[in-house]
Amino acid sequence: MTMSKAVVTVVGKDKPGIIAGVSKTLAEHNINILDVSQTIMGDIFTMSMLVSLEELEGQFNALQDDLNTLGESLGVTIHTQREEIFDAMSKV
């Protein structure tokens, strides 16, 4: 099984710099963003990003740690998960 994509989700109180911060961290890890979906509900910011992991086999943990640290500093929750879990649950 080759795994090549991950989903990064961000949820939290909206403030300037969330997308910038996430994108910068991804760029630092040389990760390509494939798709982005973002909405505001009330003042809650939610974003899902599909990113390519092809450059990143074996470095998943480092990316996840950096995004978690970023999430803490921005006051938002960031999940980084391989894409397959969402497919498993929602597609037959």
């Binding site: 099984m1 989903v7 989700t9 798709d35 979906s37 939610t46 899902s48 599909l50 998943f60 943990n61 996840q64 999940h79 980084t80 998960q81 391989r82 397959e84 879990i85 969402f86 498993a88 649950m89 929602s90």
Partner: protein, 447 residues
């Protein structure tokens, strides 16, 4: 990118307690037998620590990459009585300690398979194992035991039931909690990943990964959205939810097996509660429309739930096995505890419920002065339900010294707390003391 589905999956984990309840590595010990019990014990330790060396590491990495908690990592082994043909009860302690030491060395939560299969009769190793239980379960921390005393094919071994009643009583005199590590089965399955009853059957491959899924909280949340609708809608909703949960189990199990380089066994499609609020099978039954679990209608609601979980899960996994169904342990389920405390849920209702779900009388505290023959008679009733209905039943019951009906007993952690429940005081001793064998039911003769 389906953002709604992404959010749904994340919510299931974050708010509804969706988890993989257990990844259990089954390891055959048939090739560890040596002439000398101490050498066999060494071989057991070496084989378990070799194969399970990376189990925790691999499971934790999967948790991290997929964002799905794997609550328990466990090992099951060949029933120890089978590899202990010549052993004395004292020799058995070498095996118990080897298992305990190996489990601690690799960091798993529990190791199951300190077990004997005596549905038709006792061999020397079986008796040695049963006699060793009070010491084995109080001198070790992580060893789990099960004894199968009946099957639809073989009937019910009443001598074994008598002996197990005395054993449970004996264990309770040494420890309030050790009986939580002992299950007495009828129709035990060989690929069960759940404790305390997991063992690695003799027909299994050398090493396999089995997975148990969970998620009563997810089912409850889904049912909240169909309040007042017809019962078919309830069944459909449970099926769809079970499908999703099981797909995650299938994916995680296949991944774990691949990364560990062993065969993937089965997914056990179960709703297993924990003492946390919102992770309760009782609350699912109440959501179906019961004011409190244990009231009239409980058995029917549980039958529907158990069946719909299986129907939803079967298509989601390559191979289904284990116990597969809803678990109804009293001490491990907040809603069950409430109902037992309130007197709504009684032992006789629980017994009826075990006829339509995947297990039996599970994690139930009874007064410490309950006689051994009464405990045996409770085991016999459960065995009868299982043997007659072609299903697994089990008894994990905890007589607690110095307690009376209504007292609360705390078992710690996932084992939870339980109120001491009343037992019928009339004697069953003359029945149990007859001994012998209850013949297999007529419908077992299928050849």
């Amino acid at each position: 990118m389906e953002t709604k589905q992404i959010q749904e999956t994340i919510n299931m984990v974050e708010e509804e307690h969706l988890d993989i309840r257990t990844i259990t590595m089954g390891i055959s010990l048939l090739d560890t037998v040596a002439g000398d019990p101490q050498q066999t014990a060494k071989n057991i330790y070496n084989k378990v620590t070799t194969y399970a060396k990376n189990l925790i590491k691999v499971a934790e990495q999967i948790e991290r990459e997929y964002g799905i908690p794997i609550t328990n990592k466990r090992i099951s082994v060949t029933p120890i009585a089978l590899i202990a043909g010549h052993a004395t009860p004292d020799d058995m302690l070498y095996y118990a300690h080897a298992l305990d030491d190996a489990a601690k060395a690799v960091g798993v939560d529990f190791i199951g398979g300190y077990s004997a299969l005596v549905q038709k009769g006792f061999a020397n190793g079986d008796l040695a194992l049963i006699k060793s239980l009070p010491r084995a379960l109080t001198e070790t921390d992580l060893v789990m035991s099960s004894v199968n005393i009946g099957s639809t094919k073989a009937g019910i071994n009443l001598d074994a039931i008598k002996l197990m009643g005395e054993t449970v009583k004996g264990i309770s005199e040494k420890s309030d909690t050790a009986n939580a590590k002992l299950v007495i089965f009828a129709n035990a399955v060989e690929d069960n990943p759940f404790m305390a009853g997991a063992f690695h059957g003799v027909s299994e491959a050398d090493v396999v990964i089995n997975v148990g899924v969970s998620g009563p909280g997810v089912v409850k949340r889904a049912l909240e959205k169909v309040k007042g609708e017809s019962i078919q809608v309830v069944a459909d909703t449970v099926k769809k939810t079970a499908f999703k949960i099981t797909r995650v189990g299938q994916m995680v199990g296949a991944l774990a097996a691949e990364r560990l380089g062993v065969e993937f066994g089965i997914v056990d499609l179960s709703l297993a509660p924990t003492p946390a609020r919102g992770d309760s099978v009782a609350e699912v039954l109440e959501e179906i429309g019961l004011e409190q679990v244990g009231t009239h209608g409980t058995t029917a609601a549980l039958m529907l739930l158990n069946d719909a979980v299986k129907k939803g899960g079967v298509m989601a996994s390559q191979r289904v096995g284990g116990l597969s169904g809803a678990f109804i342990p009293v001490s491990e389920d907040a809603g069950m505890i409430d109902a037992a405390k309130a007197g709504t849920l009684t032992l006789s209702k629980l017994e009826a419920m075990t006829a339509v779900c995947s297990v039996g009388l599970d994690m139930i505290a009874i007064p410490g002065d309950t006689s051994a023959t009464t405990i045996s008679a409770m085991i016999a009733d459960e065995a009868a339900i299982g043997v007659q209905n072609n299903k697994t039943t089990a008894v994990r019951i905890l007589p607690t010294l110095g307690t009376k009906v209504g007292d609360m007993v705390d078992y710690g952690g996932l084992l939870g707390t339980a109120p001491v429940m009343p037992v019928v005081e009339k004697s069953s001793a003359d029945f149990i003391n007859r001994g012998g064998h209850i013949p297999a039911p007529i419908h077992s003769f299928k050849n």
